[in-house]
């Protein structure tokens, strides 16, 4: 399988993600995206490095199983199947996502990056995923969908890291994964606490905490 196909699928999954209102579906898409990302290094033909193999396994395990497990558990506890009224509606989100993807295609050409990568879609996809993650973080109201946005944001960073995958030590990758896991883990707890404190997982209530 060519890596460009996987990358294109990742971009497509971004679109699906911003257009969906069901939390469960959003988690599913995030799982799919995580597995796609995990497979990209293999498709790029980097399977000969043992540390990259290890990284692929860890990515798929964490993003495809551990994090969704935590998210689904949180979902079961708070019982909120849908994101009802986001700050930015789904159609507008879709259009913004498309705009962001277009912008990242332009930006990727303008960035002063090291040349020589075969996958021309890698940098635009990274920027686009980053942008999508931010979009979800900004436009969604429920804590759980925001966590999914955070996940997508990290996926974008991961894609960016693939540019340097052969030079990057395993430690850095592991660090990012661990960071992600801890972030989601903590958010899972925080979501529950938000619910018990405010009787809702709407993050608007957190504004009461400012000084």
């Amino acid at each position: 399988m060519s890596p460009d196909l996987l990358i294109a699928l990742t971009i497509l999954s971004n679109f699906v993600l911003v257009a969906t209102s069901r939390v469960n579906k959003a988690i599913q898409i995030a799982v799919v995206q995580g597995i796609l990302l995990g497979l990209i290094p293999l498709a790029m033909g980097l399977g000969r490095h043992p540390h990259i193999l290890l990284m692929v396994a860890a990515t798929i395990a964490v993003k495809g199983w551990l994090i969704p497990f935590l998210l689904r558990r949180a979902l079961r506890e708070v019982h909120i199947p849908r994101e009802v009224d986001p700050y930015v509606g789904y159609t507008v989100s879709l259009m913004l996502c498309a705009l962001g993807t277009g912008l990242s295609l332009i930006l990727a050409h303008m960035l002063p990056l090291k040349g020589g990568t075969k996958e021309i879609l890698l940098v635009p996809a990274a920027l686009s995923t980053l942008f999508t993650g931010f979009l979800m973080l900004v436009s969604r109201r429920k804590a759980l969908t925001q966590v999914v946005g955070y996940l997508i944001l990290e996926n974008g960073i991961y894609l960016f890291g693939l540019l340097l995958v052969e030079d990057m030590p395993l430690l850095v990758e592991t660090g990012i994964l661990l960071d992600l896991f801890v972030g989601v883990f903590v958010m899972g707890i925080v979501i529950n606490h938000i619910r018990t404190a405010f009787d809702s997982t709407d993050t608007r209530h957190l504004a009461e905490l400012r000084d």
């Binding site: 930006l107 303008m110 960035l111 002063p112 931010f134 900004v138 957190l206 400012r210």
Partner: protein, 655 residues
């Protein structure tokens, strides 16, 4: 090596003392004794340095290079009062601010006190820009916590915040100075810079005077000082006034000593600045109702006098006049010692009065001399010393400065010298009036409130440090000629290669002065003994007539002279005092009230309202903080996009 080792040992003991004070299990005694040990070791190290005069140093690797700790005569000159006042302060603080006083603030007080002493010790031996700044910062932050010890009072909180802003502004200037100094000399080590003119010299000196001036409280930069000194616990005020302000003087002396030549004009400017600060400080001291604020303004005055000495020395260096250098720097350092002695004594005394009566308002006190006789007796030397009267110590250091200013009259500094001369004389006179008010209103007359009438002397633990300081005040005044060799060594460090010994020029006059003082003192003492024996027959109680007041016997306390009425005659020289009197009008006038209030011209009248307006304007930016997580993430996104766009477009925009 020996001196530096002793000084470092002292610093370590102080750190140990401050850490021990945190422990809840150990008795407080351990921490106090360790601090006293540190003070003793520090005094030994500094004394050895002053008597021997051989600089000892220690190099160690630090941040891609070597850093140096060095204890020379100039460091020792400031280490000596630091450890003396700190040691006495620890002893005094035991009773004055017990460990569980005010909901356990005593622990934080002891911790930061020890750390402050250690930081100042390190600062004085540091010869590396970064180490110096680090120690400076630790000192500043510790002082912030010490000033804010009684943080439940809003005025104390305000004072400590104002202090923090001021000290950090000063640190910013000093950082700039350190960078320029590093650029001038090629390394962060503070070594004497080889000769050769450079345009940077002027900037370095200007930044040093501004940055250190914040700490020393020179005229427009003094406004943090009065409320900070008034709000802090008294032994901390003594520490701040007697030692921490002097770190500014030390810094100016140290940095100017590194420069090969002093640009012309700085000396005269500092002389004028010092003269203005002195007159301003003493004028405002006269207007105070709060006796601790009075002492704080008197610190501004004395720092101004010291600044005049430093200015004189710098003028001498610029003019290549070694005699002027010796008189200026020598007088400045001598006054640093003297001020440390009498001002800490005054603050300790003020603390005793505060401890006994619980009020800082002079108008509520009075008649304490008969209720707190020991405190009154021990404070009297300090009051005479601060008014620069013989035979006490400050008389001699001001005499040095008079000699210096007269010497500078003939060497081309006609205008600044004439101004300084008048200012110094005026300051001395006003200081005498201010402290006549301080002593008279507090200790004489009859009590103006129940708080004063029930006052009593503090315990021996508080009186003993005061007694030591009082003896030192008199002793330094009488031992002036013995100090000349040490002062010579200090001047030689502060002005490398351009000073002459003070002994040949001053020795004869000084010995004559001191001899005359001793003689007069002896005569007065004998006369006193004779008078007691002749007029008070043993066995008969001394007759105590009622207090005589303005020619009327047996006046009511509320009809007494007040502090304000005492200083009323001097109203034209009190720039911050505003009195409001409504005129009596009509045939049947209603009752009228008189009200006077004091607000510092620079800090409270000029800067205060402007700062408030600025703060109100800056509140608009609060809207940027709505409390929604999404908005914050949006900011991150916008910043990221901006960074991307900038990276992309930079090439095209800049060509």
């Amino acid at each position: 090596m020996l001196d530096v080792a002793l000084v470092l040992l002292a610093a370590c003991s102080w750190i140990g003392a401050s850490l021990l004070s945190l422990s809840g299990k150990l008795d407080e005694r351990w921490s106090r004794w360790l601090g006293l040990c540190g003070a003793l070791v520090g005094i030994l190290g500094a004394g050895h340095g002053l008597l021997g005069g051989v600089p000892s140093r220690l190099d160690f690797p630090f941040w891609h290079g070597t850093a140096r700790l060095e204890s020379d005569a100039l460091s020792a000159a400031f280490l000596l009062p630091l450890h003396l006042v700190a040691g006495l302060g620890v002893a005094y603080g035991k009773e004055y601010w017990p460990l569980n006083h005010l909901r356990g603030t005593g622990r934080s007080l002891r911790f930061h006190f020890g750390l402050l002493v250690a930081a100042m010790t390190c600062l004085l031996v540091a010869r590396h820009g970064l180490v110096f700044l680090l120690a400076w910062e630790v000192m500043a932050v510790c002082a912030f916590f010490l000033i804010g010890t009684d943080h439940e009072l809003s005025e104390v909180r305000h004072a400590s915040w104002v202090y923090l802003v001021c000290t950090h502004t000063g640190t910013a200037l000093l950082t700039a100075m350190t960078i320029l100094l590093a650029r001038r000399s090629g390394s962060l080590l503070w070594l004497p810079i080889p000769a050769g003119p450079s345009p940077l010299d002027g900037w370095i000196l200007l930044l040093a005077i501004l940055g250190f001036g914040f700490k020393a409280g020179f005229l427009p930069l003094h406004f943090w000082l009065p409320s900070a000194h008034a709000g802090a616990p008294s032994h901390v005020s003594a520490m701040l006034s007697a030692v921490m302000l002097k770190m500014g003087i030390y810094g100016i002396l140290r940095v100017s000593g590194l420069l090969p030549a002093i640009p012309r004009g700085f000396g005269a400017a500092l002389l004028a600045l010092g003269a203005l600060s002195a007159v301003y400080g003493v004028g405002n001291a006269l207007a105070q109702r709060d006796y601790k604020r009075l002492l704080a303004y008197s610190s501004i005055e004395n720092l101004g006098i010291i600044g005049m000495g430093v200015g004189l020395g710098l003028a001498g260096r610029a003019n290549h006049d070694p005699w002027l250098v010796a008189l200026g720097f020598g007088g400045a350092v001598f006054h640093v010692w003297n001020h440390a002695l009498f001002k800490s004594l005054l603050f300790f005394g003020a603390g005793s009065v505060l401890h006994a009566t619980g009020t800082r308002d002079m108008e509520a006190l009075g008649g304490l001399a008969s209720r707190m006789p020991r405190t009154a007796l021990l404070l009297f030397p300090a009051v005479l010393a601060v008014s620069a009267l013989p035979p006490f110590n400050a008389f001699l250091s001001e005499w040095f400065l008079y000699r210096g200013i007269f010497a500078s009259l003939s060497s081309g500094y006609l205008w600044s010298a004439a101004l300084a001369l008048v200012a110094l004389a005026f300051t001395g006179g006003l200081a005498a009036v201010a402290f006549a008010k301080f002593y008279g209103i507090l200790f004489l007359g009859t009590p103006r409130s129940p708080a004063a009438s029930h006052a009593h002397d503090p315990s021996r633990a508080m009186l003993l440090p005061m007694a030591i300081l009082a003896c030192l005040c008199l002793g330094t005044g009488l031992a002036g000629p013995l100090l000349l060799p040490s002062l010579d060594r200090i001047v030689a460090v502060a002005a490398p290669g351009g000073s002459v010994p003070l002994g040949p020029g001053l020795g004869t006059d000084l010995r004559f002065l001191v001899g005359a003082e001793t003689l007069l003192l002896a005569v007065a003492f004998t006369a006193y003994l004779w008078w007691r024996r002749a007029l008070v027959p043993p066995g008969r109680a001394e007759f105590r007539p009622p207090t005589w007041d303005c020619g009327y016997a047996l006046t009511l306390p509320r009809a007494e002279y007040t502090g304000s009425s005492f200083s009323d005659a001097w109203a034209p020289v009190l720039p911050g005092l505003k009195a409001r009197i409504r005129r009596l009008t009509g045939n049947f006038p209603k009752p009228v009230a008189f009200r006077s209030e004091f607000r510092d011209v620079v800090g409270e009248r000029y800067l205060g309202p402007r700062m408030e307006r600025l703060a109100a304007r800056l509140l608009r930016f609060r809207r940027l903080q709505p409390g929604y997580l999404s908005v914050y993430i949006l900011y991150v996104l916008l910043a990221l996009l901006g960074a991307f766009l900038w990276m992309g477009l930079r090439g095209r925009l800049l060509g």
